[in-house]
């Protein structure tokens, strides 16, 4: 002691209540076993190629490349996964692991609802009972996802404590877990939380980078100059970055939620701003947006999935090493990049993913047309229709909702 298992530099660890000690021992053991069992990875790839549609394509965004006049922009299409986001990779992998562990119930936190839908989907497929914890604010922001989770047979529990967002959902999920650890596996949705979650989730998400690395060489002939990914917890970013970590010429750029702007205090930028500091919460040590007493602060982003106080310990380490650069995109920039991408490429990125597009569009012009950049499109924007229609103040959408609302109100 201190035993440095589960640390990335000085970050990570497993700060867990004693009641979970045995659960984590078994969990580590089971993970260790599958980690070194090549049949497991093969089973995982088979599942992802028959139940989801891996490999997901790498799309050349010809119009935006031309428009910006710089690098060739490629988009890694995690939106085409079953359930519409990269979250499926992690969740289906954990599902296979849960089946091996013999557990019959899964729980998860969710912010944008994508991880919740993915987990509920996996539970339906594997026949597990399922409870999803979701901050009350996110329940409202992502209602369609809540509806689908319930249709998928999951119980969705709105979390009303704290800031009623992702971090509080994580706390709530842990509380469930310390009560039901024998039957239950907690399907953490991102590369955060106590060891071995960061390692586990990064492993499953590495499938993105493995594919992208091959694809860009096949389609473009060489490695990209830069790779962009949005960073909430950091799982989609870690997923694609792992494909290029050993190529120092490939610059890796994580894009955080700039919210109303980095100077306003209303954002969720842990590493792109100077507001965060080292801390320990939610079972791990990382850079948190917290006050001088160590109390976590309210974060803000138009994208529920990025609205989180912590960040992957693996990414903090890579950031400290200078391997990953961090930037932030404001809500306003995000809506503009979304609009531009939809209109020019016929592709609707999730609000989360749109953060990566913002930064890529800002920088594409600095590069030459014989260079490529990759944007990891972590998910599709369908789920965000209420937020997007609202942000664009779409009058016919509003009229439609008002009418529907009246119709329902009259039925009561």
């Amino acid at each position: 002691m201190p035993n440095k298992i589960g640390y990335y530099g000085e970050w990570g660890g497993a700060f867990i209540p004693e009641v979970l000690h045995e659960t984590f021992r078994e969990f580590n053991q089971a993970f260790g076993a599958v980690r070194h069992d090549p049949t497991f990875w093969a089973e995982y790839c088979d599942l992802m190629s028959t139940y989801s549609c891996r490999p997901t394509p790498l799309t050349h965004a010809e119009n935006m490349s031309k428009k910006l006049g710089g690098a060739q922009i490629f988009i890694k299409r995690e939106d085409l996964n079953h359930t519409g986001a990269h979250k499926a990779n992690n969740v289906m992998g954990q599902g296979l692991l849960v089946r091996r562990m013999g557990k019959k119930r899964v729980i998860a936190e969710t912010g944008a609802g994508q991880h919740g839908v993915a987990t509920a989907t996996m539970a339906a497929k594997f026949g597990f009972a399922c409870t999803i914890y979701m901050g009350e604010e996110d329940v409202n922001r992502q209602r369609p996802n809540v509806f689908w989770m319930e249709k998928l047979g999951a119980e969705v529990v709105p979390v009303t404590s704290g800031s009623k967002t992702l971090k509080d959902a994580i706390n709530a999920a842990f509380r469930d877990w310390v009560t039901n650890m024998d039957s239950t596996h907690y399907v953490m949705g991102t590369v955060c939380g106590p060891h071995p979650f960061p390692e586990l989730v990064a492993w499953f998400q590495s499938i993105i980078g493995i594919e992208a690395r091959k694809q860009i060489v096949t389609q473009f002939g060489k490695a990209p100059s830069r790779v962009y990914a949005c960073v909430g917890g950091g799982s989609n970013a870690m997923g694609i970055f792992q494909g290029f970590l050993d190529q120092p010429a490939v610059e890796l750029v994580g894009v955080e939620a700039g919210g109303d702007g980095l100077t306003t205090g209303r954002h969720a930028a842990r590493l792109a701003a100077t507001d965060a500091s080292a801390g320990v919460a939610q079972g791990y040590k990382t850079m948190f947006l917290q006050d001088s007493d160590g109390q976590m602060q309210d974060t803000h982003s138009v994208a529920a999935g990025l609205d989180y106080v912590g960040v992957s310990p693996i990414l903090v380490d890579l950031w400290q090493q200078g391997r990953v650069r961090f930037e932030a995109a404001t809500d306003r920039e995000v809506m503009a990049a979304l609009d531009e991408t939809v209109k020019n490429e016929g592709i609707i990125p999730a609000l989360e993913s749109s953060h990566a597009f913002v930064q890529a569009y800002k920088e594409a012009g600095q590069l030459k047309p014989d260079e490529a950049i990759i944007i990891n499109m972590s998910g599709r924007g369908d789920k965000d229709i209420f937020t997007i229609a609202n942000a664009f103040q779409d009058p016919s959408w509003k009229r439609f909702i008002i009418e529907k609302g009246k119709e329902y109100a009259a039925q009561k």
């Binding site: 002691m1 045995e22 801390g279």
Partner: protein
């Protein structure tokens, strides 16, 4: 060793000790002051004072709400230390801090130990700091003679209990069941077997917590453990009946 010795002394007169729990700054420091006074007067043997944290991961709804409300009123860690200093100066029983690790980490672990020791705190309960992560913490606990109270859970193996006991001091906090604070616990045969295992592995006094709310619960523990912990029930009582209800409630427990 100080806490352990103090408890041994107390146990010479009583067959079971009572430890109560308060959340600092909830509903206010003034209320805390009155509640502590009533507790001490009515014979409570030691008090754990929770420094509120925004992410009380191991707590149940009652204590979560108390943490939140206290923070919403602006409670700061410094104020908690000042209030603790006042309590320790006023009342002769041992006081402990219960909180989550980030409060110490952010304050500076060394500074926090030093300041807590200076005001006479006798133990720390940090539910999210397992000994694997608490190497420096355990060393400092020795250095400042602040007992690191470690936790046994029904899921702990004998082997694990022995590891924990070796690192702990003061007493062992035996969580009576799975789950978070504040729900009902049933004191059945499985529970008695669990406590027997704790006794076997601990070599320290045992405190039993989680879900103790009345005399019957205390009786179930008497003779099996040294300390009964009344946590969420204390807060619920003050919420519903006010600070003045604390004295009579405590008196009726033993």
């Amino acid at each position: 060793m100080r806490l352990k010795n103090n408890l041994a002394e107390a146990l010479r007169h009583k067959d079971i000790l009572l430890m109560t729990h308060i959340v600092l700054g909830y509903p206010s420091f003034e209320a805390n002051r009155e509640v502590v006074a009533q507790m001490v007067e009515s014979g409570v043997d030691l008090i754990e004072m929770q420094i509120p944290f925004s992410e009380p991961m191991a707590d149940g709804p009652v204590i979560i709400k108390a943490n939140q409300d206290s923070l919403a009123r602006g409670t700061k860690v410094r104020q908690c230390l000042e209030f603790a200093a006042e309590m320790i100066a006023t009342h002769a029983i041992p006081f402990l801090f219960m909180t989550y690790y980030n409060i110490l980490f952010k304050y500076g672990e060394e500074e926090f130990f030093a300041d807590a020791a200076a005001i006479g705190i006798q133990g720390f309960i940090i539910p999210d700091l397992p000994p694997e992560e608490g190497g420096a913490f355990l060393e400092r606990a020795k250095k400042y003679d602040i007992a690191p109270i470690l936790i046994f859970a029904p899921t702990s193996t004998d082997e694990r209990m022995r590891v924990l006991a070796a690192a702990a001091d003061g007493f062992i906090y035996c969580v009576a069941r799975r789950g978070v604070t504040g729900s009902q616990t049933s004191f059945d045969e499985a529970f008695y077997q669990y406590i027997a295992r704790c006794r076997e592995c601990a070599g320290l006094p045992l405190a039993v917590g989680f879900g103790i709310c009345d005399r019957q619960d205390v009786d179930a523990i008497r003779g099996r453990a040294e300390i009964a912990v009344i946590g969420s029930e204390m807060i619920r009582l003050v919420d519903e009946k006010g600070a003045s209800a604390v004295g009579p409630f405590i008196s009726g427990l033993r």
